[in-house]
Amino acid sequence: MKPLDLFRLIIGNLNRRKARVALTAIGVVIGTAAVVILVSLAIGLQKNATEQLYGIGDLTQIQVMPTFGDGGGGFYGPIISKPVDGSSSAQEEHLLTKSALNEIRAIPGVLEVIPRDYFYGSATMKYQRLDGWVNALIGVETTDLANLGLEASQGTTTLSNGSVVVGVMALSSFYDPNLRPGEEPPPPPDLYNQQIQLDAVKWDNEGKEVHKMLSLRVTGILTETRGESDYAIYLPLAQVKALNEWVNGARIDYNKSGYNQVIVKVAEANQALDIADQITQLGYQAITPQEFLQGINSFFVVLQIIFGGVGAIALLVAAIGIANTMAMSILERTREIGLMKAVGATNRDVLSIFLGEAAGIGFIGGVGGVAIGWLAAQGMNVLAIVYLAQQASQQGGAPPSVAIYTPAWLIAFALVFSTIIGMLSGLYPALRAATMIPVQALKYE
């Protein structure tokens, strides 16, 4: 039998029992819609979570830190206290020296290797009569912060001596120290192209505060990344190094002690894990936000399977409905089956016809279920986003852009799955039809 003839015959057979096909398909509609809605919800949650997590860092960046020997301190310990000639644990010590950076730069897929350092002391900012906290004063050995994937909402991302580029949230850290109770706090100042004072503080041996003032022009304000850069202020590395030398009271030689931290920028986010592994094998410590993401993704995959499984229970009930309808139909059409065989239908033809009808019911139900599931997901999405946006505005944080998400693959999967379910439930009745003895089928009353 030709596929097109088979297809036409199946359509004709389904068409002549519209009411029964429709009633049976409703079960599949409900099951498929449940699968689509629940899996969409799980995917939406995942997207939502991942979106928020993008704040933990650019996925194309790897943070690399040196491995100190047994005698070494923490990552941010004042490196100057370490013996630079480090004899005790030379084998285990992997410092981020110039040659180390070249080693990392040689890994395929690495675009940039950018050393950076934090200011060890504490610092505040002053602008007119306002004071501001400095959450992180970061020195970066690059002329352009765009190399770290940062963008400016105002001004430039280039770094030069005497200027500073600040994260957008750093502006909100300004407060009026002379504010009286009950007075409205001032709005965050617009610092772009303004001169600010950086007040670095250290304590001398007698515990007395020593201040060092730097006058800096704000040449750029960064766009929000929901990460560290939002609260940071950026200077050229040399300037931060000078400040750290002032705090330590000793010279820092990065060639001997190595850098405290290096940002490795890779071409593609999906290379990050692999390159991080290679860097770890070289003996350094590498951290990539991908690792967090992976763990979170696998959690959501489990969630999708569980949600999908709940929906699948509804589909199972529908499958029993299809099996029942097909069994009834085959009983009613026993003589027709006998006739088909008498006029030359093979067992395989009969099997194909009835399997096709069962699959057709599954497919019709699948189309209905996908349509209803998709519409419901869209509706719920709108409601959920409104609700979550309210929550976000009350509790702070960014509102989600998506709550329930139906990807194209889910729609395709639901259609294929419901069709296969239909076919499987029709298998037993169809096999019975195919193996009927023609003479008995013809004489069936």
């Binding site: 039998m1 030709k2 003839d5 015959l9 004709g12 057979n13 002549r16 003589r335 027709e336 006998g338 006739l339 088909m340 065989k341 008498a342 006029v343 030359g344 239908a345 093979t346 067992n347 395989r348 033809d349 003895i437 023609p438 003479v439 013809l442």
Partner: protein
């Protein structure tokens, strides 16, 4: 081909019914030449329908051999039988067995789907055949819109659709009034005259007029016409 068109040898068909074995056919030997009009007569329960279904490859014998046109049916598998039926056999049933949801033309064309005949050719052929049985103007009617005689004519057209050498008819006039029955008999006779081998199972004595060959069955055995007459007359006088 050597030997007769149909050769049935030692054919037996036994059923289990409850605890007892029903011997529908028990050691039947029949030879039928091609281009004959064979009438199989017998009272109900004589095994005549069993003979027809075994000959058509719709049932399996308990024992014996069935040869049609040089091919042995009793050793074929299901698939081979299906192909054989579509190639060499045309069936006509007492209850017509038309698909109610299909039009007359679709019913006639139905077997050609399984033979893989292109759709255009199917339409052409079914209309030709309906014209041949005098139902050209009824081709779009559903079986429920046709009389019994018309339905049986659609069934005859369907039996002819794959141009089979052998036409098997099981009580073709059993559900029809006298005049419709007569016209169906005439139609079968015409098929025979056109060169086909026709085998009709019936207990309608009028069919005998057309027969070139007669087979009488009693209790699963082939008997002579004289034995058959006396047995059926005895039965009549007994009752």
């Amino acid at each position: 081909m050597t030997g007769p068109f149909i050769r049935i040898f030692g054919l037996a068909r036994h059923y289990q019914m409850g605890g007892t074995t029903v011997r529908a056919l028990d050691g039947v030997n029949v030879d039928i030449e091609s281009h004959t009009f064979t009438v199989v007569m017998g009272p109900s329960g004589s095994g005549k329908s069993s003979l027809l279904y075994l000959l058509g490859g719709l049932d399996r014998p308990t024992a014996g051999e069935i040869w049609v046109n040089g091919e042995r049916l009793d050793t074929m598998d299901e698939n081979q039988l299906a192909v054989f039926r579509r190639r060499a056999m045309g069936f006509i049933f007492q209850s017509f067995n038309l698909v109610q949801s299909m039009s007359a033309a679709e019913n006639v064309a139905f077997p050609m789907q399984f033979a893989g005949v292109p759709a255009m050719r199917r339409t052409e052929r079914s209309h030709d055949l309906l014209k041949q049985v005098g139902l050209a103007d009824r081709s779009h009617h559903k079986p429920s819109e046709l009389s019994g005689g018309q339905q049986q004519r659609v069934a005859i057209a369907r039996a002819l659709v794959n141009d089979p050498a052998l036409i098997l008819a099981d009580e073709p006039t059993g559900n029809l009034d006298t005049s419709s029955g007569a016209s169906i008999m005439q139609m079968l006779a015409d098929l025979h005259r056109a060169g086909r081998t026709v085998l009709v199972v019936t207990h309608d004595a009028r069919m005998m007029r057309f027969a070139t060959h007669k087979i009488f069955l009693l209790d699963g055995h082939v008997v002579s016409e004289a034995e058959y007459q006396s047995a059926t007359l005895d039965a009549m006088s007994d009752s």
